[in-house]
Homo-oligomer: 365 residues x 2
């Protein structure tokens, strides 16, 4: 079964303008017109690669509506708020965790996300981290072990880097640690991340979110795929990301929802760092699954152009996950794309808050 998509405006990230796409067996197999089994007329609609949301926390119990309301009326965000989600997650059975995570993943898909990473990090015991990742694996193949999310009793780091990692590594593709005052210091993060790397996992670092710190430099030192948040960066941090080719994953809705300063996207882009945009979907600081909203906000608040933002939300996210066949629509790519009810991808920023998704195609279907 082959399908020709034509009559639209295609953003592929390839060098040549594309007037039509041929999809077969879930892949883009040809650019341009061809004889196919089926033809889809796009009637002028824009096509962009499916969004790659490279940073989410979908496996959790409870919600934090009251904390959100309190913050709106003036209480600052504290990393400790995560603990309430940890308590709720431990009390929630696997089926309920899965139902919620699948609901959020389906919501993400409807808004154009075709590749999704998600993390553990609300279990923080061997048992609860392991079952969080079992749930995560039923949602997406891109799962990250985040045992080093919130500090616990003395010896916790050794537990994370030892028994917990051993139990979780088979269920994860990557490891992450929250390097921040109030979370884990740089030596603790290094211990955990090196152990994960030795177990064959890719590395991400929650870095420089709430203040300046060594997280970004650690990501560069370890050859991490991405440093995530990157709100407070020195010039040395920006240079380290560029030189080590670490993707800077920015999550502006967390900054929107916590009334925090926005990340310096312009400095990163101008320095040649690869930027990814992600939702950071979680119940505490960024309870959205909408990559279109992330794109609109990045244009308003991060100084990104619409095309820079769409690139970061697609190719940038793919780079952050180390994936080569998503985030673009060159020949050979997975046929993952979004048909927009819009003549141009700029409308994702020009029409904020509006559902512009006409159709989401994943693996050609």
């Amino acid at each position: 079964m082959s399908t020709l998509y034509r009559g639209g405006s295609f953003t592929t990230w390839g060098d040549e303008p594309v007037t039509a796409l041929v999809v077969q067996d879930g892949r883009v197999v040809h650019h341009g017109e061809a004889a196919t089994d089926e033809v889809v007329e796009l009637a002028g609609r824009a096509v962009v690669p499916g969004f790659v949301d490279s940073h989410t926390h979908l496996v959790f119990g409870g919600d934090r509506t009251e904390e959100f309301e309190a913050r709106l009326s003036g209480s600052p965000y504290a990393a400790g708020g995560i603990r309430s989600t940890v308590a709720a997650t431990r009390e929630t059975d696997d089926d309920s965790l899965l139902r919620r995570a699948l609901h959020l993943a389906a919501e993400a898909r409807r808004s154009g996300t075709t590749t999704l990473e998600t993390k553990s990090g609300y279990g923080l015991t061997v048992r609860d981290e392991r079952r969080s990742l079992r749930v995560a694996r039923l949602v997406t193949p891109h799962t990250t072990f985040l045992g080093a999310h919130v500090p616990d009793e003395p010896g916790y780091v050794d537990l994370v880097a030892g028994e917990m990692l051993e139990a979780c590594a088979p269920l994860a593709t990557a490891i992450d640690a929250f390097c921040e005052t109030g979370a884990f210091d740089v030596d603790e993060c290094r211990t955990v991340l090196l152990a994960g790397q030795a177990a064959g996992l890719d590395v991400h670092v929650h870095a420089n979110q709430l203040g300046p710190g060594p997280g970004v430099q650690l990501a560069a030192e370890l050859g991490a795929l991405s440093a995530d948040h990157c709100t407070h960066l020195s010039d040395g941090d920006v240079a380290a990301l560029r030189d080590a080719e670490v993707v800077a994953t920015l999550v502006p809705v967390a900054e929107f929802s916590t009334r925090s300063p926005y990340a310096p996207a312009r400095r990163l882009l101008d320095a040649g760092v690869t930027v990814a945009l992600a939702t950071d979907c979680n119940p505490g600081t960024s309870f959205t699954t909408s990559m279109p909203f992330v794109i609109a906000l990045a244009c308003r608040e991060l100084g990104m152009s619409p095309l820079e933002a769409v690139f970061a939300a697609t190719a940038g996210g793919a780079a952050a996950l180390g994936l080569e066949d998503v985030g673009h629509l060159n020949v050979g790519a997975r046929a993952d794309f979004v048909v927009l009810e819009a003549p141009s991808p700029t409308w994702l920023a020009y029409r904020p808050g509006v559902d512009l998704v006409h159709r989401v195609v994943k693996d050609g279907a």
Copy 2:
């Protein structure tokens, strides 16, 4: 046919908590359980009054994607940008204008808007203003004549207040004027608005958007239903709105999309002014139909609590249109409401960018 809605969390704006609603003949006829023909179980979902979007410009030709992109890269917003939409609107036939306006109105309905005002103002000739309002009347009963949108040749104000008003008044329920440096001065606006008032129309004023000015005071002087935008307000302006009971209609997405300062909602609310939130949907400065996005933005940027924002987006909008039977769900109200895929209306702010609309009920259906 009577229907009982129960098992949800109801926001009615009445004094008593409500556990169930009975709807009959398009109205809320009873609060609480009763024997009905039909029962709808809401399974814990939140119900809010349908959104009342009291300020939109849906009748236009063309779009302004390029101007939007230019503004993102640094060009300031100039009221003159409206002229490009005027040129495009004059060149667009009635059917095309109607198709676009109905598309946007349907989009608004899907995001929970059950009452909508819309304006002329991109025609600016007797013929083009009149046909804009003919189109508008096919979209909504709440139509505003905005001939005084952009200045034209000498004598234009007399045309607007004379022949154009005469042609347009039968198609409109209200009149509006853009009182701003670069648009119309206070005497010109007074001339136009008094003529409209004499023709039986309600009064709105586009006031104090781009800088301080006399627009808000004029709205108070004329007993307008609303002063719209209200970005730059003196303490005297706030007092005038309160004392004259003029609704302040705030449109934060215009400020989001033009990177302008946000309106001082907190000062207005704390002074006891009734605030409405609206989309200002138009192709130049706020190309959104999403009241949920307006609410989320009002909580982030205007210092409003979620309930204040939802009140402003429902009861506030109704007050701005002089309507008593929408914007709330007390007995006697129109059965216009939104069932949210959320346990509380706070989620409209807590989950920005996410489509939380489970079902929209308009006139009981």
